[in-house]
Symmetry: C2
Amino acid sequence: MTTTDVVIVGAGLAGLTAARELTAAGKSVIVLEARDRVAGRNCGHVLNNGVPIELGGQWIGPTQTEVLGLVRELGLETFNTYDTGTSVTAYNGTVTHYDDETFGLPIDSAMEVGRLQQELEALAATVSLSSPWLTDDAAELDRQTLDGWLRANTDDPGALAFWGGIVPAVFSAEVAEMSLLHFLFYIKSGGMIDQLVATTGGAQEMRVVGGTHQISERLAQELGEGIVRLNSPVRTITHDAAGVTVAYDGGEISAQRVIVAIPPTLAGRLAYSPALPASRDGLTQQIPMGSVIKVQIAYETPFWRTAGLNGFGVSLDDELSVTLDNSPADASCGVIVAFFEGAHARTAAALSDDERRASALNTLAKLFGEQALSPIDYVEKNWMEEEYTRGCYGGRLGAGVWTQYGKSLSEPIGAIHWAGAETAEEWNGYMDGAVRSGRRAAAEVLGELS
Amino acid sequence: MTTTDVVIVGAGLAGLTAARELTAAGKSVIVLEARDRVAGRNCGHVLNNGVPIELGGQWIGPTQTEVLGLVRELGLETFNTYDTGTSVTAYNGTVTHYDDETFGLPIDSAMEVGRLQQELEALAATVSLSSPWLTDDAAELDRQTLDGWLRANTDDPGALAFWGGIVPAVFSAEVAEMSLLHFLFYIKSGGMIDQLVATTGGAQEMRVVGGTHQISERLAQELGEGIVRLNSPVRTITHDAAGVTVAYDGGEISAQRVIVAIPPTLAGRLAYSPALPASRDGLTQQIPMGSVIKVQIAYETPFWRTAGLNGFGVSLDDELSVTLDNSPADASCGVIVAFFEGAHARTAAALSDDERRASALNTLAKLFGEQALSPIDYVEKNWMEEEYTRGCYGGRLGAGVWTQYGKSLSEPIGAIHWAGAETAEEWNGYMDGAVRSGRRAAAEVLGELS
């Protein structure tokens, strides 16, 4: 049996960052990865014209300092998402171009959206990021769904449609599928709503030249030969106060500590011996992953730019609900990235490939004109089907879960530590949160082993 | 490798009933059970005075015809739960004895409870038991939590307290933790609220002499030597249209079909090769099990009877919230069965054994008098800690789950069929539903193999 100081389960950003920190501190590590590749929810792809795109998480915002620092340390470069021109919204059969803060909604609805945003952010300001369950009034905030709160606080159909569209765009889940407390925690964790939804100045500001999966690839390379073991799904973690034995398809490793750096719902599927406390197990029974199909549609040119459009589109009337300009930095071709999210992802997944493609292209034509019907490539990634992620962007907590189970999200259990974007206080659910969680878990382990 | 016609995962009532039906039709079966005993959520125990009690599901109602028929076929006997005398409710610091329909609530609150019950049952009558997602207005009913509906429909604090107490008693979960549609489905599945909560004439009417675990024990015995394999947790199901290979701790079995007869959340933890469709996987990510600690407190005599009390108690002020007389048929001693349920179970689980016992006894003393402080035995079962159940009474569906994932609850996937109380149309979540689900799954398999 191999022996190492720390075993890490999962070679995504969280696991690899933890491995890097531990290695830098002189500890030996082995990273076990179920897939035949590293990078988890980051995943590169190349269009049929040779242009690289990304099937998974791709954007980095200016306040995401941890992942941004890592990108630069590893010698990768960023470029800005194209963001010049007019945005477009389809709502109630009308397509509206806009340059202002209205999101293309009727003015009354836009005002109501703003009022609700202020109220939600005032509530979010009260939330404890380190311990959401200790927030003043946590029980009351957690009892309600976001849907319940919205309907109790407005009857403006445009405002309800907006929140019903923008929330799946951020969470890949519906307003009824998360507690108000979870929504508030998450928006505060990412610096509030404008930060989350903005391109320039927000979470979609930058992209990595060549793709974000290179961050993980370079981290793995830096660790050296034999440290990251691919095609090695972990099955059982046997643990006591002194250490762990981790059994995977391919062998067993004995270590002083293990860091489980995979989504909570997947962490709950490992066998633990002895079994984990009920509080942790109950948590993993109820953090479902979001639902998303990411679509990239390539054209000879970014034709919408010549029409003065920036490629940012929202349709509150269609299944394909959000689009952005995803063209390469040199604009050698045009690429729109678009998403089926939440309930739309689930219904779109049930369509045939042809039906789903037609649905996507028809929405793009509505937003950007008939040229959208003639792509040169069309690429989809259904993250719900990925056995070792089982949904993106991340896990969410429904009504009652934060207050009753939240404490178990990152609290170590003996020799077992937890990492992953879902365990982050800042930028929870994002690459930046994943990096932070890996550093936090590594620090926990170092504190115990030193 | 062993070969058989059908492998069954789980030797609870559902799995063993399926095995019985298949065997009767001439098929060979092997039942793989993770535990060192059969009967799943039924479990026998003996008090220190030699009187048998039950740590798990114990009651049978008169309309639970399938489990009742099975009990009689297997030569077991039933007796009636003691139900003579006055009931008692603690609410807002007041203890009220009552013989009427008021549940011991202030009359205005009792009237409001009745009005809400009528409205809920009128809505429940519209629900499709076979396909809840096809119910008229399903999206609207599923979007709301039961909590949201209650608060929108009453502001009577007594009525809200009542529903907040009685719902955990039936579901081991809070009103915010299930969708309105799930609540409506479940109450209709069990014949509406009076049936669910009543002793005589309802789901708590009868008990099995010696304990309900004997049903499973006799079913296993009837199957014969070598058919039920204990201590055999299943790890991987490899499947194609032609059949399955089931790998467990102890070997592999090849079969034409498998019936997975364990709770959905545990079914989701098995490894499937190829991986299951996202619709099924997403479902198992979000059917958490209920939370309950079942407590039995034994006394020299059923002293409450001499005070004219039937032992049925509800405290809306305490963590131990529901009690019933659980004395043996001959009343050779007195036994109260009581429950920490839902959120109370989770907080009570965090107490020390002594603290929890004191909390339970203090509530009993409040309801039945000081004699309750001097038991001759005190037995607890925390079902959340059971590795191979992970909560009782059963799985629940939160807001949005039935409409988006419900179809995958019992729909076979190639050679894989699903059973268990959570998959039943009638008496979902009860022993009767488990038996029905086993018969349904066996019939599916026979239809394909014959």
